[in-house]
């Protein structure tokens, strides 16, 4: 890939809307709906063109915006006065935005506190490795090739670039690596990506391991699971026992 796109990832449609309001330096109590709707929709287009998974909530807010816009354009229906209509059609949205903004700021403040195990530490207790039982409890999510690829890129990026060139490089074949992985899996039941790489993390070994995992996943011989974004990747045999 020769280029990278930087896009602010939003925590939801309200977050995107707040971002647009700040970006345009708009008074939140007097939102120019036409302008904001237009920008909001163009952001959705960008996100869609990047194949980002667009949650349904984004579309709901889009329709709300368009609905408000149309209400602002139409003269109030006969026999209906402003009060009955509930006044400014934007009011409800503004209320929602203000409420969300308050909690977003509250979240920032929480994050700014001295967090245990990030900023402050207690004696011993937290240094312990999580017990096996606790690890079992971690929610495991089955991952696809892309997460695996991210892990792969991270490991490669962490490598020392200067690597001695070996002339008589260790001969390693994909078949050997596949057999080795399956053997270890049948012995140990599960294995992490890092464990598989072992101590010697040279480029060649990482690439072969990665290819072997991809092949095994394609053949549906193994499953790869992760305990969360950037969590440990664990491999399991596809069929237990």
């Amino acid at each position: 890939m020769s280029y990278e796109i930087k896009l602010d990832i939003f925590e939801g449609p309200l977050d995107l809307l707040l971002f647009l309001i700040r970006k345009n330096e708009i008074d939140i109590y007097n939102i120019p709906i036409a302008l904001i709707t237009e920008q909001y929709l163009s952001y959705l287009d960008i996100m869609r063109s990047l194949n980002l998974d667009l949650a349904g909530e984004y579309l709901v807010l889009a329709s709300t915006l368009i609905h408000i816009k149309s209400k602002l354009l139409l003269p109030p229906a006969e026999g209906e006065n402003e009060e009955e209509e509930g006044g400014d059609p934007r009011a409800e949205l503004v209320q929602q935005l203000l409420e969300y903004q308050a909690f977003k700021e509250a979240a920032l403040r929480l994050d700014g506190r001295s967090l245990l195990d990030r900023d402050v530490f207690t004696r011993g207790a937290a240094v312990e490795e999580p017990t096996a039982a606790e690890e079992e409890n971690e929610a495991m999510v089955e991952i696809d090739v892309f997460e695996l690829f991210t892990a792969f890129r991270r490991i490669i990026a962490g490598l020392d670039r200067k690597e001695d060139l070996e002339i008589d490089a260790e001969k390693m074949s994909l078949t050997d690596r596949i057999n080795e992985i399956m053997e270890r899996l049948s012995e140990e039941g599960q294995i992490t990506f890092t464990e598989l790489l072992g101590e010697r993390t040279d480029r060649r070994r990482i690439i072969y391991t990665f290819l072997a995992i991809l092949e095994l996943m394609k053949l549906r011989m193994i499953r790869a699971c992760q305990s969360g974004p950037f969590g440990t990747i664990r491999l399991f045999p596809a069929v237990e026992g």
Binding site: G12, L14, E57, K104, A106, L110, R113
Partner: protein, 194 residues
């Protein structure tokens, strides 16, 4: 140092979780909770005056020795792994739960404008949020609240220590930063020489 104070210090040192004054009063014979609290306050001042690497803090209804927060870069080096962090989505969800508890999931969904199932599950798994009960309305939705661990992790004595939301609303707009601030990844450790 008075013998009792030494015992209190030893108890605090040994306990893996914040230790309450009540518990210490149970252990120490003929000692009122009030006396223990005053000894604890004395200890807190002593540690603060000493300016060392640890301090005695009041968290989650108890007392606990913790490291000084500005020393974190060093300890992170010792512990090597990534610090357990909450994503911005989890943090927002947690803020809603903390301030509006007890509450049902649909209320969190409404405030954040997204489905919070994933974030909520993560918080439950981390035992920062717990199920408090079920609301007595059709469908009997689950009610959520924060845990004692929430107080421990966020360095709070109790829930009343949370700044009120009204205070937050009175604040001027935060600087244009759509993202949550990350704890700065310090690559260089602070100079040890004073």
């Amino acid at each position: 140092m008075e013998e009792k104070v030494a015992v209190i210090e030893a108890l605090l040192f040994t306990s893996e979780t914040p230790l309450t004054a009540e518990r210490m009063a149970e252990i120490l014979p003929d000692t009122e909770k009030k006396e223990i609290v005053s000894h604890l306050e004395g200890l807190m001042r002593e540690y603060e005056a000493r300016g060392g690497g640890i301090c005695l803090q009041e968290v989650a209804g108890g007392f606990q020795f913790r490291t000084r927060s500005d020393l974190a870069p060093w300890i992170r080096k010792l512990k090597a792994g990534r610090p357990a962090m909450l994503s911005p989505a989890a943090m927002e969800t947690l803020a809603v739960v903390a301030y509006r508890q007890p509450l049902v999931k649909s209320e969190i969904d409404r405030i954040r404008g997204v489905d919070v199932s994933g974030a909520l599950k993560g918080l439950l798994d981390k035992k920062i949020v717990r199920i408090v009960g079920r609301k007595d309305v059709p469908g009997k939705p689950i009610i959520y609240g924060t845990t004692r661990k929430f107080l421990e992790v966020f360095n709070l004595r109790d829930l009343s220590e949370l700044p009120t939301l009204r205070e937050l609303k009175d604040l001027p707009d935060q600087p244009d930063e759509p993202d949550m601030p990350r704890p700065q990844e310090q690559t260089e450790l602070p100079d040890l020489q004073e």
